[in-house]
């Protein structure tokens, strides 16, 4: 039994239309059909968090969502974070504060941290740790990741106050 569907999704501003079996996860669709291999698959059962992406602006585990369910949706992956060729504030902060070692969990960490800072621009360290708690770093490099997110929050605040554009 093969239940085929044709879906259209907008990923990082680009429109993709392709066929998929009903059982294809969104993660596999992004990696295989869209060629966007920045989204990593670790456990494939919703524990490791490496596959986290934005589905209509909400961070979800793409290994627990079927591609067919995302038909018509707007998706952002780690590839969509940079501003042109420039890393964004959070990505630069990960680079500067040793926020990645092997890099496997990094896409999930970046997406979760992006959502956290969007919803809570002034997080405490505890809130940052809770915000990334759904992503496992097997290098156990959590201190660097937490520092990176805290520093990115600082940079974003400074940026806002310098440009005076908060209101």
């Amino acid at each position: 039994m093969s239940d085929k569907h044709t879906i259209t999704v907008t990923v990082n501003g680009h429109v993709y239309t392709d066929d998929c079996e009903a059982r294809m996860t969104l993660a596999d669709f992004l990696r295989r059909q869209c060629g966007l291999t920045g989204t990593h698959l670790g456990c494939e059962h919703g524990v490791c968090g490496a596959c986290t992406v934005f589905l209509d602006d909400v961070a979800v585990r793409s290994c627990l969502t079927f591609a067919v369910q995302a038909d018509g949706a707007r998706i952002s992956t780690v590839e969509g974070l940079a501003e042109g060729d420039e890393l964004n504030t959070l990505q630069k902060s990960f680079q500067e504060h040793h926020g990645l070692q092997c890099g496997f969990c990094t896409p999930g960490m970046l997406i979760c941290a992006t959502e956290l800072l969007r919803d809570n621009p002034n997080p405490t360290e505890t809130e940052v740790r809770e915000g990334i708690s759904g992503v496992l770093c097997r290098c156990t490099g959590y201190d660097g990741i937490v520092k990176s997110v805290m520093a990115a929050a600082d940079s974003q605040r400074d940026g806002v106050s310098e440009s005076g554009s908060i209101s």
Partner: protein, 292 residues
């Protein structure tokens, strides 16, 4: 770690979902947030031949409060419920419990009704429903019926839903203004399923006597368990230390945990005793400090 093949159907409202369930019978499963079902499918522990997706429905996504009750639609995302002020002020035990339920990304997608229908005996939302005496509204081909929470959960992952019934919503009694609530949960890591959880709601009247005591435990029996005997011992009393300790012993006497890799039955019994006492004391403090 890929799910077996299945046929995908999307329902546009609850009635269509019921029709599809009736058409496909036992081979079909409802797909809500997928945070429990999809891992089971990826492990090949569940092999439904048809999935009926209810993410496109709009008649099961609501949070409504009246004078007496809070009604939450089954397709309400857990994260939405956690942050909803109407729900938090009517039933403050809900956001307190949801904070322990997986991680933000699970709650972003996971639904209120999905957790209830999945019926894991260690999950937080079923324990809240049992603690507060909630009622579940289900719809089948011949109409709706209402089931008290204690009759809905039958065994691990087993509910009183018939094969062609769908959970529409659940109704919780509004807690009196100022009710103190507390969730005490023992888990290996934050966000894991509870080894033991205890949920308590306590309200003291103007004379310092408890006019509302609700306690339930999760992870210690085949379903969440309302701790009726402990509630009865504490109701109408001033909740003094000796009374709380005695009620905690009664609580441990009324559950039947089993051994598993996370903890022995005797350890769980001891933890029920400890966590019931701790939850009641913290709930009293919560009321006195006026956190709402």
């Amino acid at each position: 770690m890929k799910p077996p093949p299945f046929e995908y159907r999307s329902a546009h409202d609850s009635a269509e979902a019921v029709n599809l369930l009736t058409e496909y019978g036992d081979d079909a499963k409802i797909l809500a947030g997928g945070q429990s079902l999809v891992p089971l499918m990826n492990f090949r522990m569940a092999r439904p031949s048809v999935l009926i997706d209810i993410n496109q429905t709009h008649d099961m996504t609501h949070i409504r409060a009246d004078d007496g009750h809070l009604v939450v639609g089954a397709m309400t995302r857990q994260r939405v419920l956690e942050r909803d002020q109407t729900a938090g002020s009517a039933v403050p035990l809900l956001p307190a419990a949801l904070a322990h339920s997986g991680h933000t990304t699970n709650r972003n997608r996971g639904t209120f009704g999905g957790s209830l229908a999945h019926a894991d005996p260690a999950a937080e939302l079923p324990t809240v429903l049992v603690a507060l005496g909630g009622e579940l509204t289900v719809q089948g081909p011949s109409g709706k019926r209402t089931v008290p929470a204690e009759d809905f959960f039958l065994a691990p992952l087993v509910t009183s839903l018939e094969y062609n019934e769908i959970l529409l919503s659940a109704r919780l009694p509004r807690l009196p203004q100022g009710t103190g609530v507390r969730v005490e949960e023992l888990a290996r890591r934050h966000g894991d399923f509870a080894i033991v959880s205890v949920m308590a709601a306590v309200h003291l009247d103007s004379n310092g006597r408890a006019d509302l005591v609700r306690i339930a435990a999760g992870g210690v029996d085949s379903t969440p368990i309302r701790l009726h005997e402990a509630e009865a011992q504490l109701s109408g009393t001033a909740l003094d230390d000796a009374g709380i300790d005695a009620a905690a012993v009664a609580a441990a006497d009324s559950v039947h945990p089993t051994d598993d890799v996370h903890g022995s039955a005797s350890y769980r019994l001891e933890m029920v005793r400890v966590l019931v006492a701790r939850a009641i004391r913290s709930a009293i403090t919560h009321q006195k400090e006026g956190h709402r």
